[in-house]
């Protein structure tokens, strides 16, 4: 199978010399859903930031969809990001917009015509079970619904790779299952390649997907 992500000899450490990633290797295939598990501060967010080119590694190569992220110029990097959906750990607060308008806002800014943007936004909300909340502002929604809106925002432009940084953070067990269930539906429906970070190593097993553990800067294959 074709590789979506290929990371080799990746090292990253802070300016103070603290090692975050130490000679990391990872391969993620097209259509695969990978869980990146680790305790708080292990470097999961840094790893995702390296994948999208927001941070530069000290050493190593990162290939995403056959493009070397570490060597791409700003314009090429932006083009690559247009094929990705990113759910940041810190939820994005979009002021004075309903859920539907927030999605349309993003799609219009990416150059889609109004009718096409509306169609894609509706489809995404439908896929995530948010159609009934389209006309409400995200701030008025329950935490689990807000988490789903963040996923909808990342997925509405039909990315080929979805990176979700702790999408279930601060959610109860029921909420966590709802969010991961929605991601699972998205993954199956669009054969989307996904990397999801989490602290709980039991989550990946429940969804039958592959998981890797990030501990002390090193990646270990899960069970």
């Amino acid at each position: 199978m074709t590789l979506m992500i290929q990371v080799s000899e990746l090292s990253f450490y802070t300016d103070e010399g603290r090692v975050i990633l130490d000679n990391v290797h990872l391969r993620v295939e097209w259509g695969e859903w990978l869980f990146l598990i680790g305790p708080p501060g292990a470097g999961k967010t840094v790893f995702l930031q390296l994948l999208v080119g927001e941070l530069q590694p000290r050493r190593g190569q990162i290939l995403v969809n056959e493009r070397n992220v570490t060597r791409l110029g700003p314009e090429r990097l932006r083009q690559l990001r247009r094929t990705m959906g990113i759910v940041p750990q810190q939820p994005l607060v979009l002021n004075q917009r309903t859920v539907m308008r927030a999605l349309i806002f993003k799609l219009r800014a990416l150059g889609l015509p109004q009718d096409e943007a509306e169609r894609r936004a509706s489809e995404t909300l439908e896929a995530l079970g948010l159609a009934g909340l389209a006309s409400r502002p995200p701030q008025e929604l329950a935490p689990v619904e807000q988490a789903l809106v963040q996923i909808a925002l990342a997925a509405c432009n039909d990315p080929i790779l979805l990176l979700a940084d702790e999408p279930c953070r601060r959610l109860e067990e029921e909420g966590t299952h709802a969010v991961l269930g929605a991601l699972d539906r998205l993954h199956r429906r669009k054969r989307l390649t996904m990397v999801t970070t989490a602290e709980d190593e039991g989550l990946a097993a429940k969804f039958g997907t592959r998981s890797v553990f990030l501990r002390d800067g090193r990646l270990e294959e899960g069970r």
């Binding site: 967010t45 930031q49 999208v52 927001e54 700003p74 314009e75 932006r78 083009q79 690559l80 990001r81 247009r82 990705m84 990113i86 940041p88 810190q90 994005l92 607060v93 979009l94 002021n95 004075q96 806002f105 993003k106 219009r108 800014a109 990416l110 925002l153 990342a154 432009n157």
Partner: protein
């Protein structure tokens, strides 16, 4: 980019309209003062103290004009008399603030400017003199050009108003960027570059500049038109305002300055963008 600009405009009411409007207002005042100052310092002739323009009756024959010329030249208050053809003024050959006097005229310089009123009255009594336009002490032009204190005051006001408009435009753009943090981060992660994100904010910052510049252009145009029908009054206060070329140059300069200040304020506000799109 235009959809983003449209969204920004729509969100203005609730967010940064206040400082942006204040910036625009300060900019209008800044441009007005600058225009007045430049008009007062314009190199155009006319409006000098002790100078009179006597417009001649078009029915006068050459001989009558000569006779009048010789008569006025002999007056002891008069230092110099100069005959000017109306065509010379219209073609710009003679630097006179009255752009189109409609008739030939005498430009009369006096030994003592204080005698301008008396000489003007005497000129009006002569047959063949249509209108007399005289400068007077205390005109706007003279006030603006008079003292070093006035120059310093004008300069200080210009600096304060310029800074006020810059700071307000910058703060409007900055607060708008901060309140749009979520949107900007979303678009940045989706592959929109800093230039694509910043341009709509810069366009927005240009609006008060464009508005201020256009207000000045309109104001100058109206003043110029008004001046055509109130020739004498304007000649006494700001004669350069009667000259179409000067007014057009000043209008373009105001527009350029307005846009420049808007651009500068916007670029200053955009410093906040880099922080807004970072995690």
């Amino acid at each position: 980019m235009m959809s983003l600009f449209g969204e920004l405009l729509r969100s203005l009411r609730a967010r940064s309209l206040g400082p942006l409007a204040l910036g625009g207002l300060a900019l209008v005042l800044f441009l007005m003062l600058l225009a007045l100052f430049l008009l007062a310092w314009s190199g155009l002739g006319g409006g000098e103290q002790g100078e009179l323009l006597a417009l001649l009756d078009p029915q006068l024959t050459t001989g009558q004009v000569d006779q009048l010329y010789l008569e006025i030249r002999e007056w002891e208050e008069v230092a110099r008399v100069e005959f000017i053809f109306k065509e010379e003024v219209k073609a710009g050959g003679v630097k006179l603030a009255v752009p189109d006097p409609g008739t030939d005229l005498f430009r009369i310089s006096l030994h003592n400017p204080r005698e301008a009123a008396a000489v003007g009255e005497r000129l009006r009594g002569l047959a063949g003199i249509g209108r007399v336009i005289a400068s007077r002490r205390g005109s706007l032009k003279e006030i603006l050009r008079s003292t070093a204190g006035m120059h310093a005051l004008t300069l200080a006001l210009l600096i304060v108003l310029g800074l006020l408009s810059l700071v307000n435009i910058r703060s409007a753009i900055r607060s708008l960027i901060i309140s749009w943090r979520g949107e900007l981060r979303l678009l940045y992660l989706a592959g929109v570059g800093p230039r694509g994100l910043g341009t709509p904010f810069l366009l927005l910052a240009l609006l008060p500049g464009l508005g201020g510049g256009l207000v000045l252009v309109l104001g100058l145009y109206v003043a110029h038109l008004w001046g055509q029908s109130h020739l004498e009054a304007l000649y006494r206060s700001l004669p350069a305002l009667l000259n179409s070329t000067t007014v057009l140059s000043l209008a373009l300069l105001s527009l350029g300055m307005g846009l420049g200040v808007g651009l500068l304020g916007g670029a200053w506000g955009l410093v906040a963008l880099r922080r807004a799109i970072r995690p």
